[in-house]
Amino acid sequence: MKKEGEVRIPSGCAVCGIFARDGRSINGEVIARSIALMRNRSNGLGGGFAGYGIYPQYKDYYAVHIFYDSLKSREECERFLDSHFDIINLSKIPVRQIESITDAPLIWRYFVSPLVHKIQDSQLDENEYTARCMIRINNQIDGAYVFSCGKNMGVFKAVGYPEDVARFYRLEDYSGYAWTAHGRYPTNTPGWWGGAHPFALLDLSVVHNGEISSYDANRRAVEMYGYSCNLLTDTEVITYILDYLTRKEGLTLEECANVIAAPFWSTIALKDRDEADRLSYLRKMYSSFLITGPFSILVGFTGGMMALNDRLKLRSLVVGEKGSTTYFSSEEAAIRAVEPELDRVWAPAGGQPVIVTLDEGVCV
């Protein structure tokens, strides 16, 4: 096998997302149809989806999706889960065996709630406790990979084309108010199940088209705060940076965008004094979290979605609106595939986040 540097693969992943601001349920089949249109942006080495609002019957529990390499890893991981969480429900994630998806690991789902006395002993809040446990599994239990652990949301991913991944996971059995999708064309890192997108921690998930030139600087910085990058691909670090900035530093998503896609100093110099001060502060304070290189990302979180391009807009990203639904995609055609008549369609500028959230009063 040729090693990195000996082979050049032209890059071209695909991302898309759908968000219903009125909180109505959209079937997983819709997002699968949208991403399927961009098949030639992927090469069959990774596809995945994140759905929000898909587990209403268990919405107060963390839904933990795990890949296992072996029965032994599962036993070890379940012992760990048992001693840290109340497991309300556990099962294999139902899949449909299809020819184009092979070498599947064991894929399990657990609905869990942290053990109360453990949380008290740890003096952490529930999210931090859960996040630390999941990072520990990924770090310490050989052959176990937590790839989703939020409430009322779930990630489904595999090695394959995204439309095949949707059939494999029976995505038509899930409905939610928000979906993101990814078709992968890995360039610098291996195509394996854990390396497919989305990458998620708690309820925050990221799909990404591009490559991060600053990866190692970002990785070293975020690992100082207790995260651990072990899924062998660059996108993972974006998830941890955003989790750190939002959950621990209390930044808004707009501010996060100003950190990871910070404007050039020459652009900041054109702003009025207050805005220039604010942007300079964010750039200096969080300089290790500046992400360089081309990217377009979609970030899913409870109740909302953010789309963001790198500041030079080196990857494509289109936004469409129809009534109370917002669509995001690498290509306009993939939006038109599921909604031919749009009220509005536009391409946001580089570094300018587009953030949508549920309408006021909508509960999911």
Binding site: L37, M38, L312, E331, A333, A337, V345, G350
Partner: protein, 241 residues
Amino acid sequence: MLKLDALMMDENELKKEADTAEDVSIINCLGQRYLGCARKKGHMLLSGTPGNGLASYLDGARIDVDGNVQDAVADTMNSGLVTIHGSAGDALCYAMRGGRVFVSGNAGYRAGVHMKAYKDKQSLLIIGGTAGSFLGEYLAGGTIIVLGLNKGDDSPLTGFFCGNGMYAGTIYIRSRVKPVNLSDTLSWSVMSEMEKQEELVPLLSDYVKIFSLSLDAVLAGTFARIRADSSKISKQLYAAV
């Protein structure tokens, strides 16, 4: 004219079939790539949303699109005419060598990067709305016109780094507002009425006909011309950003 429905055909089959006729109309385009690529003759009429790489290497044919187009349209186009009754994505007319591309709406980032001109090959890109950053970067020849008809001539019509590193060719902007960060190796000059008549009328006359605009109304706005300042462009080896 051969009539095809993109919904009914596989992408490769569609392109093969389209190549069998000089004049072809394709409805319901949805992301099919490289349509009209290197076409020499005839007329291609598209509706829907054709995919990336439309009209790349176009070599003489005319392509009309009723709708928006995506990325990398008219890449390295050599001659012919492309009209887009909608907006265009990123990297429009990259390294275009000749021919004309008319867009009624906006263009994304990196439109007209490294366009060229040589003898009878004079590439021309006209954008009816606004353009994203890096418009005409490294321009080596040819002409780009940004009209901002959806904006008015008192707004900025381009993003950052307009014309960075350009050393030949011309960018006309229908606005009194200079693009932000315009490099100091470029000259910006507001045009007189006579200059507008002499330079712009020949370039715009087909455009206004195709999109049913009034030439007088378009010319009524303030126009400025951006060119490389020959006394400065060779002063340093690398462009300072």
